[in-house]
């Protein structure tokens, strides 16, 4: 795989057109510019141009105290805000040398998995609307509302939860939460199974998705992708299993893999991961220990000792990492965000070359990249 596949190298020939998708385009939530050089309907070269909502987060974070950064980490990727909180708090806990309480660990796993479910639901929804299946999109968002309500009951917010704290979490569970959650999740399980059956049996859908945008395992590794696109190729790489954090090593779950590596498998991985997350949440609700959900003295004004940490967790989209360098003051010296969507976005243009214009929507949406996190 050469680098010429990531960029448009020459001006279009008379038989070719340069087609610009974006920045305002209904392809994905978030602006980006995808330049395609097409001949007829076939894509000859593709180039992805990003940065349209580059906020300069890394610079802003260097000017904020550690606790001020916490709510801002939500905004890195609004669909995985709990994961982002969590990876930041885990990094800070390493720097500060504290350990979250047992109950807080379980609560974080609970919110992370809920977050994964809602992100996958919206991801699948976006994807189905991109292959023209509007009804399934609406069903997915409808089911997502239930999960958003569950998250809202814990954190008080629909999207940017700001829930984890250094060494704990912000709130305990509301009373009667377990029954409410089990009811909603039970319904969701049935609905997801029926949607899965529908998507696996719809012949037009299968025609659109089977064998499209195929990544092999070696290709995916070479492109540096992680998360569902990698697991769809059959590689069992999940940081929850590879590098167990919080209480994931006490919980029973499978790493979902598929073998084909095409668009269909990526969506299938997400669908099955929703079911697996529901299973995890059921265990978490059963095993939830009593005790404090936060430290007795919350470290609000923090001056960690000079040092550095690279913490990473399994985001809904893959490997989310943060590299924090402390110089002993109350603000980080350097704050680097390694987003999973950045890696998948980079892997997009090589996948598009040789496919049809109509597949662009399907492939791009099946990678489920989050523009906000790509641009940061």
């Amino acid at each position: 795989m050469t680098h010429t596949t990531t960029q448009i190298t020459s001006p279009p020939k008379p038989s070719e057109i340069l087609l610009h998708l974006g920045p305002q385009h209904p392809l994905q939530p978030g602006p980006f510019l995808l330049d395609l050089k097409i001949e007829g309907e076939t894509i000859r070269e593709a180039e992805l141009k990003i940065g349209y909502i580059h906020k300069g987060m890394e610079k802003v974070f260097e000017d904020r105290t550690y606790i001020q950064i916490l709510p801002l980490t939500d905004r890195i990727c609004y669909l995985a805000s709990n994961s982002n909180n969590d990876v930041y708090c885990r990094g800070m806990e390493e720097l500060l040398g504290i350990e979250p309480t047992d109950r807080a660990k379980y609560l974080r796993v609970l919110t992370n998995e809920l977050c994964r479910i809602q992100s996958h639901l919206l991801g699948i929804g976006e994807y189905t609307t991109d292959v023209g299946f509007l009804t399934m999109f609406i069903y997915m968002v409808r089911e997502r509302e239930g999960i958003v309500s569950l998250l809202e009951a814990i954190t008080g917010s629909r999207l940017n939860h700001n829930y984890a704290r250094f060494g704990g979490v912000a709130h305990d569970l509301p009373p009667g939460y377990k029954e409410m959650a089990l009811k909603t999740l039970g319904e969701l399980k049935k609905l997801v199974k029926s949607h899965d059956e529908m998507l696996s049996s719809d012949s037009v859908y299968l025609k659109r998705t089977k064998g499209v945008g195929v990544l092999t395992a070696s290709q995916a590794k070479e492109l540096g992708v992680a998360g569902p696109p990698l697991r769809a190729t059959g590689v069992e790489y999940d940081l929850r299993r590879v590098e167990p954090y919080l209480v994931y090593d006490d919980l029973d779950f499978d790493v979902i893999t598929q073998t084909d590596g095409d668009v269909f498998s990526r969506v299938k991985v997400r669908l099955l991961e929703i079911l697996e997350s529901i299973y995890i949440i059921e265990q978490v609700l059963d095993q939830m220990p009593t005790g404090p959900y936060k430290q007795n003295v919350m470290p609000y004004i923090t001056r960690p000792a000079p040092g550095e940490v690279y913490s990473r967790i399994e985001d809904p989209r893959g490997e989310m990492g943060m590299y924090i360098i402390s110089d002993g003051s109350d603000k980080p010296y350097r704050f680097r965000i390694r987003g999973p969507a950045f890696a998948t976005a980079q892997a997009l243009p090589p996948l598009l070359v040789g496919t049809y214009v109509a597949d662009v929507a399907a492939i791009a949406a099946s990678m489920d990249s989050c523009t906000s996190e790509v641009d940061r």
Partner: protein, 172 residues
């Protein structure tokens, strides 16, 4: 593209019979033994994290060595500015088959920040290098497509993430 990867897969298929390389801390010992004067200050602060400083001139052979030993995933490339005279490029390298993350730091002079590109070794280094270039002004030799990625093109040359950047906070 397709043919090339078909070949890769076949190579992988035959390679599976050979014993897979070990993804653990012993790699650090091997690394410092192989590159005696290229790798120094090796430290393992946490069970799954290893840190080392490397000679910026030998970054390519070191990375090639790591890739051959199973560290097939370049996680991240970050720039760090240390005014007045130093800049650091930090490579986080890990593997798809183990939890160990190796952070390799290369110090380069701030007035002439240049280092070799890794695009030949890790395909996905390209965007990370472009990002580091536009934010810090670190030039990656032989990077095939070194131009701005996130910033508008007229902001090239401002290097906003350097510590002495004047445009922050935004004056408008």
């Amino acid at each position: 593209m397709v043919d090339e990867n078909a070949d890769n897969e076949m190579v992988d298929g035959t390679r599976d019979i050979i014993e897979p390389p070990k993804i653990d801390r012993t790699i650090m010992v091997a690394l410092s033994e192989t590159f005696k004067d290229g790798v120094f200050d090796v430290d393992v602060p946490l069970p799954n994290r290893a840190v080392a400083r490397i000679d910026p001139g030998r970054v390519k052979p070191i990375m090639q060595f790591l890739l051959d030993n199973g560290f097939d995933h370049l996680s991240c490339i970050s720039g760090v500015d240390h005014p007045p005279d130093k800049m650091e490029v930090v490579y986080h390298v890990t593997s798809y088959s183990g939890p160990l993350v190796i952070a390799l730091k290369a110090s380069i002079p701030r007035d002439d920040p240049k280092i070799d590109s890794l695009c030949d070794i890790y395909w996905n280094a390209n965007w990370y290098e472009r990002e580091t270039y536009e934010l810090f002004g670190i030039i990656f030799n032989d990077c095939p497509y070194l131009k701005v990625l996130l910033l508008p093109e007229d902001m090239e040359g401002e290097w906003p993430l350097r510590k002495d950047y004047a445009g922050y906070p935004n004056p408008t």
